[in-house]
Amino acid sequence: MDKKKSFLVILSETRFLHILLSIILGFVVGAFFLVIMGLSVGDAYGRLLSSVTSVKGFSYVVVYAIPYIVTGLSVAFSFKTGVFNIGAEGQFVMGSMAAAVVGILLGDLPKFVLIPLCFLAAMAVGALWGIIVALLKTKRGINEVLSMIMFNWIAFYLSNFIAGIPAIHSDGTAEATKNISANASTLLSKDFISQYKLCPTANWGILVAIVLTVVVWLIIDKTTLGYRLKAVGFNKSAAEYGGINVNRSILTALAISGALAGLGGALQLMGMGSRISVFSSQEGFGFAGIVVALMGCSNPFGVLAAGLFYGALIYGGSKLNLVGAPTQLVNVIVGTVVLFIAISVIFERIKYIQPRGRRKAAAVQEGKEESK
């Protein structure tokens, strides 16, 4: 029975305690490296903590966290529905570019029209990126993980290509797009920012992220759509037997997941960036979404918390050089956390491949409970 669980399902259910333990171990390993480098653990971690606990610092954390939360939701949603959206990276890039194109070309539209339009464009393109992969999977049987990784690169080069189109490309010397219209910006007003001493890129994207969190939770837990998608994710054969259209479900799941990642790209652009540079390497927001989804146990609210935590690490990590510690320490911590989460998944699995005798015992135990 349980042994039939797919790896993805186990991944999405890894328990909170394991996550917490993994995070602690991540910091322990980080401390180990600090000691090797002859640095003070207290100084480094103290700096990490202090830089994210001020009002301004925390506003940075929130702003940093927005794209991670949204791509995390995207990946978590895919975990719950039995596909692995490793293509959030490409969907993020495409969504971001779609929002940029709309924000540049239709910049004269009023704010309340332009912003929703940018969001919609980003979601549509992100969804499209997911749908193409889903079609390749359902019509041609091509493994979605492989095609998504390739589509990430297609997105990467397509984005660079679009950035070079004269109508989009910066008028100046910068290797980037034009700035999007101020009407497409989600930044808070200058007065508000200075009044509350927030960071200069403080924006209301976080509200969108919170709304998305609730929406994803509602879809997964409260709607028939979520039920269908989960049924396909957990057991394709039974879902089909029960009359659920499996291919359409996979399509829907990847479209929603892609739309989320695409919207993440738009939020990042409209809040933080205002323009898209020509990439020299993948930015990794989508890949970070995988980490965030894992740390959040694929639970939408868990993802919200994990996204903030990840944002704090990234922002706090950028201040580490002030105490002489390398910024990369954060990568060590994050890498270790993910490693330990993955190991805890293996421990979950080991339960299912325990010696025959013990498994029998468990089965007998179960039988006893049932006959009570």
């Binding site: 709607t223 049924a231 057991n235 039974a238 037997y241 015992a361």
Partner: protein
Amino acid sequence: MSKEFVDLNTPVIEMRDIVKKFGDFVANDGINLTVHKGEIHAILGENGAGKSTLMNQLYGLLKPTSGQILVNGKAIEMSNPRDAINAGIGMVHQHFMLIQPFTVTENIVLGTEPRKGITLDMAEARKNVQEISERYGLSIDPDAKIEDISVGMQQRVEILKALYRGADILILDEPTSSLTPQEIEDLIGIMRNLTRDGKSIILITHKLKEIKESADFCTIIRQGKYIATVDVEQVDENELASMMVGRNVSFKVNKPDQTPGDVVLDVKDLHCKDYRDVEVVKGLNLQVRRGEIVGIAGIDGNGQTELVEVITGLRKGTSGQVLVNGVDVFNKPPRFGFDHGVSSIPADRQKHGLVLDFTIEDNLILQNYGEEPYSRHAIFNRPAIFSHATESIENFDIRPRNSEKRTAGTLSGGNQQKVIIAREVQNDKDLLIAVNPTRGLDVGAIEYVHEYIVEQRNKGKAVLLVSFELDEIMSLSDVIGVIFDGQIVSSIPGKEANENDLGLMMAGGKKNG
């Protein structure tokens, strides 16, 4: 049986007062078992009664908490199966442990291969295998690959594997669960050959008929407790069953006569191919009317699986018609069939019947999650789903109670089947298809499932029953259709059927009707 080969003066296995605890749970509570030389000894008990726990202790997989195990009169302690093998005990598991791409010989000698220097001496191995297989009448092709031979042959390989390792005492765990009636007969013959040669056999089963046919003695275990050891000749099946479940069990299905009504399912000239692209259903015709159970008897692989898959929409056929109440559901998606009156209890309950990671309440609405009161405008109404589950659990005796929010994977096989039956019966469709509905279930659960199937028929539903259990087909069906080579080769009233005729027809022996 006749006990002609039993040497009552030579006990080979004595398990004395075996207690096995897992934490607070007592899986075996003072069990005694004595097996003599040349004896076939059945261990009978419901699922979870503690049969396997007991055998695992005899095979060195588990250590008894207390009690003694004597082999050939000597007390021994076993800490792993190797000790058991050295003591002359061999075990054939229910699920075979064979390497599919290897030949019969390679599988049998695996781990104890004869060598010539550093290379394998396959000629020697082959000779040895042939020798034992002849000695015990287990004829087999030593060069065939496992993946190419039938389940019955694979079982022979498992038995030979144990014999090759010098086993004098064989434990057979549910050996007939996947065999055809003919293969079962062969197996019983093999068992007798082995006992004639002085081997002893312990047979774990919950099939009473086979015990009557093959065993000399039978030890009954119920809820971990030793109930009795009986001389099989002196008890009948009913007595065995009531000792096993602790109450009277009725094998007679109460089925009033009734005249069938309109045709609900009408399959016309159906053709379809299997996964290998070979035509397996070849112009099949079949009708099921209201208020009747049509049983499909046949040896696995004659097209019955594909027939059901086409009717339920899981497989595309090549040509033909499948009319349900006059609507053609041929090559339509499963949902279409469901909407037009098809419900089914699938053969593989864990693969097709349930989403094991879903809760029971969610499994109970697998088809009608989108309907009121369970949801409105695509939003779930959780209280309605919950109370539907509570009602189903109560009405269909799903155990444990209050399990609405438990995942289906935590239930026992019998209770998983009850969840499916609860769902399909409550769907209240005109046609109910049941495929091997009692596979792997124990007597109590079988009785229950049969009652529900007959009740559907009595209510005027059309029931199509596909089963490899001839007894089940014969006791439930109003009409029995024998499927052979992709066609219904004969159709006889259930009352007139007998096992021999059916068996012959299933093997393509004769056509009538």
